[in-house]
């Protein structure tokens, strides 16, 4: 079986006094795909940020490829081949589209360079048309493409997409899903947060549901598809 890539053990995270994550266990293996689900405000983004060291868990541990990264700086974790597309985008406004992509370019952990500038351009032709525009001049969807492209430029082993299709036109969203599938096929692991449950469960092999900072479901995509009442109960659809 393939190796463990990223693990969270018994993670408790607080914002000031409010206790958000109540002892979460999470793990993802190389090449695996996980759909992280839950209503607004349940702690999905917080879990991701805790693992990346963007917020510090108060208890618990974070492991990357078996090594302790609990106290590592965010960039050290990220350099282990983890790319993050945050919700709400976070593109660099004062950089042009080209610069946004170039600044993050890096070979993968194993030295591979599959994702080049040209390949990103092929994948998102729309960005090619806006290549010299400043980041602040893009439409919402264009910004979204740019963040995904920027993450791919780091040639990651694990791609974390937090609401990556927010604001994308259906056609593009489908295109993203197609690309993610393709990425997965090349062996890159993915964690996806998205409200399109149908799409994510069909891409990912595992699904996890968070309710109020606790894991209420962790199983295969097939299992969750077989239990629509679970989705109904925890996600309200």
């Amino acid at each position: 079986m393939s190796n463990m890539l990223l693990e969270a053990k018994e993670v408790h995270t607080y914002y000031g006094a409010s206790h958000i994550l109540h002892g979460i266990d999470f793990n993802i293996r190389e090449g695996e795909g996980i759909a992280l689900m839950g209503r607004n405000g349940m702690g999905k983004s917080t879990l991701i940020k805790s693992m990346l060291g963007i917020v510090r868990p108060r208890h618990g541990r974070v492991l990357v490829r078996g090594d302790d990264y609990t106290k590592a700086r965010t960039y050290q974790t990220a350099q282990q081949g983890i790319a993050y597309v945050p919700e709400g985008r976070g593109i660099f406004k004062s950089l042009t589209v080209r610069e946004n992509l170039l600044m993050s370019a890096r070979a993968g952990v194993d030295g591979r360079r599959e994702w080049t500038f040209d390949r990103v351009m092929e994948t998102f032709p729309r960005l090619g048309e806006r290549i010299n525009n400043g980041g602040w001049q893009l439409s919402g969807g264009e910004q979204q493409m740019l963040t995904i492209g920027r993450a791919l430029m780091t040639n990651p082993d694990l791609l974390i997409l937090d609401e990556a299709t927010e604001g994308l036109a259906p056609l593009i969203a489908m295109e993203i899903w197609r690309i993610v599938k393709e990425i997965r096929r090349t062996g890159i692991a993915t964690v996806i947060v998205d409200k399109n449950h149908g799409a994510v469960t069909s891409i990912c092999d595992r699904a996890m549901i968070l309710v109020k900072g606790q894991v209420v479901f962790d199983g295969t995509s097939d299992e969750i598809r077989a239990q629509p009442e679970l989705i109904q109960k925890h996600l309200g659809v």
Partner: protein, 258 residues
């Protein structure tokens, strides 16, 4: 609230054009918005939908074209003035007062309807009408449990809900909503669709949204843009069936099964 006449034309944009340097983000776009109608603006990313809304709301001046509200030419009015006459908007990218509580965010929005800059000695918190209005709108947007939270610490989806509560509390007759559902969970989206339907009873709504389930659940009229140009305009059924629209925007049914 003012009297409402069915199908009264609230907002009319004539041949709006907006250029950014060499790029034509909107070309000759005309939109009509009637009361008790939800008019949806669709289009691929970068088609110019937000630009169009920005022109209607006064955030961006059009390069060409005119805008009329209730028959009056409002092209020259600023964003604030348009808000005062009754055009409210929400933003695609969350745009709130992050240091304030949810209540204060919405209360400020409500207060904008009766500004009394000269009355330096009344307490804002004693203006009951604004508080009541704010609470009602927060409830309506589904944020009842978060009234006293500082809005900056809300989750992304909750901030999107707050955005809606704010525009609601301004009593705007015309609502320009730029992807209100983006970032909301499916449950919240569903309840927001109900809110939209309720709002439609008294106002006119221009909606930009990429959530097709929601769009087809509420749209009375759909305009599709591509590359700044008008592609098609018509009732939902017509749009759904249009081959051009499918190619440019919706995709075909089978491509849904990734």
């Amino acid at each position: 609230m003012s009297t409402t006449t069915k199908n009264e034309v609230l907002l009319q944009a004539d041949r709006l054009t907006r250029r950014f340097g060499g790029l034509v983000a909107n070309q000759d776009i005309s939109v009509t918005l009637e009361r008790q109608m939800i008019h949806v603006l669709l289009g691929p990313n970068g088609a110019g939908k937000s630009t169009c809304i920005n022109m209607l709301s006064g955030d961006l001046p059009p390069s060409e074209g005119r805008i009329h509200y209730l028959g009056k030419d409002i092209t020259a009015l600023t964003a604030a003035q348009r808000s005062q006459v009754g055009i409210g908007r929400s933003y695609q990218r969350t745009n709130i007062f992050p240091q304030f509580t949810v209540l204060e965010n919405v209360r400020l929005a409500a207060q904008s309807r009766r500004q009394q800059p000269w009355s330096l000695f009344t307490k804002a918190m004693e203006q009951k009408w604004a508080l009541d209005k704010a609470r009602a709108c927060i409830e309506e947007a589904g944020l009842g449990k978060r009234v006293d939270w500082v809005s900056g610490v809300l989750s992304h989806g909750e901030q999107r809900q707050l955005e809606i509560a704010m525009v609601l509390s301004t009593d705007a007759q015309v609502l320009l909503l730029d992807e209100p559902l983006a970032g909301m969970g499916s449950e919240e989206s569903a309840s927001m669709v109900e809110v939209l339907k309720r709002l439609r009873q008294t106002r006119g709504i221009l909606l930009v949204e990429h959530d097709m389930d929601a769009v087809f659940a509420v749209a009375d009229m759909i305009t599709v843009m591509v590359n700044g140009q008008l592609l098609e305009c018509g009732p939902p059924a017509q749009i759904k069936a249009s081959v051009a629209v499918q190619q440019a925007y919706l995709g075909t049914e089978d491509s849904f099964h990734v």
